[in-house]
């Protein structure tokens, strides 16, 4: 398993480097925005990856509520945490693109606001998991995750439903894209998906180890003779 992980990490590293080269050198320069449009090759794949991870969190939470599976619960924590990391990238790279293009860092537009709300929901999910000491924490967190996931389609479809300043979607929406740009975008998405999978893999292993240690510590405390406590 360790060997597969190393090979996969190496391949992802190569793909990420190639994707960066494609984004900075190969992709054509956009006529109106210029080079700043290249932020799109990091911003959009990060957003898609975050949506995918939050959807995984939703599915894992539903499975946990139905089957009370510890593996599903661990997957829910992992996907939410890595999803928050990718959503943070979206919230940071978005304003860095907006400043030179719109002339402002931020506007309380539906797409932007719902993305911020999505980030806040999953940060509160992680805080609940981290600080709650109740035995029912996984159940409460799973319920919160299900409600939180309702914001994912709202973020995605907000630009179709509401009038917004955010550009139209390039796939399946009103926006259009040069095929060479689409090619670079998809390469970057594949690279970030691989990277997300790698992080989730490591984080899942860590979560399992943490739980085993906690169980062992509880068991050791129970087996300790009273005099030594």
């Amino acid at each position: 398993m360790k060997r597969i992980f190393t090979v996969f990490a190496l391949l992802t590293g190569i793909l990420l480097s190639y994707a960066l080269y494609e984004a900075l050198i190969v992709a054509p320069t956009e006529k109106t925005m210029g080079d700043v449009q290249r932020i799109f090759y990091y911003h959009v794949p990060s957003a898609w990856t975050a949506f995918l991870l939050f959807t995984t969190n939703f599915v894992a939470s539903v499975v946990y509520l139905i089957r009370r599976s510890a593996a599903a619960d661990a997957l829910a924590v992992v996907s939410a945490e890595v999803g928050v990391v990718f959503c943070t990238v979206v919230l940071v790279t978005g304003p860095l693109w907006a400043r030179p293009v719109w002339g402002i860092w931020w506007t309380w537009d539906v797409r932007l606001t719902s993305t911020l709300v999505l980030w806040l929901i999953y940060v509160s999910y992680l805080m609940l998991r981290r600080f709650s000491t109740s035995g029912e924490t996984p159940v409460l967190a799973a319920a919160l995750a299900i409600f939180g996931a309702l914001d994912v389609p709202l973020v995605y479809f907000s630009i179709w439903i509401f009038r917004t300043q955010h550009p139209q979607p390039v796939i399946g929406g009103g926006g259009s894209i040069d095929p060479r740009m689409l090619h670079v975008l998809l390469i970057n998405w594949a690279a970030f998906l691989g990277f997300a999978l790698l992080i989730c893999w490591s984080r899942y292993r860590l979560e399992v180890l943490k739980r085993e240690v906690e169980e062992m510590q509880a068991l050791t405390a129970l087996l300790q003779p009273r005099s030594s406590r």
């Binding site: 932020i39 990091y42 990391v85 943070t88 860095l96 984080r203 180890l209 240690v213």
Partner: protein
């Protein structure tokens, strides 16, 4: 160009920070495992 480089740098800074958090987590768990082994 500055905004472009800032965005790319910010992306990797965020990811690297998270990887460091993961590494710290692994180190802490390993330490706890060793303590448990010593206690047995």
């Amino acid at each position: 160009m500055n905004f472009l480089y800032a965005a790319y740098a910010a992306t990797w800074i965020i990811h690297i920070c998270y990887l460091v958090i993961l590494l710290v987590g692994y180190r802490r768990v390993r330490k706890q495992i060793e303590e448990l082994r010593r206690g047995q």
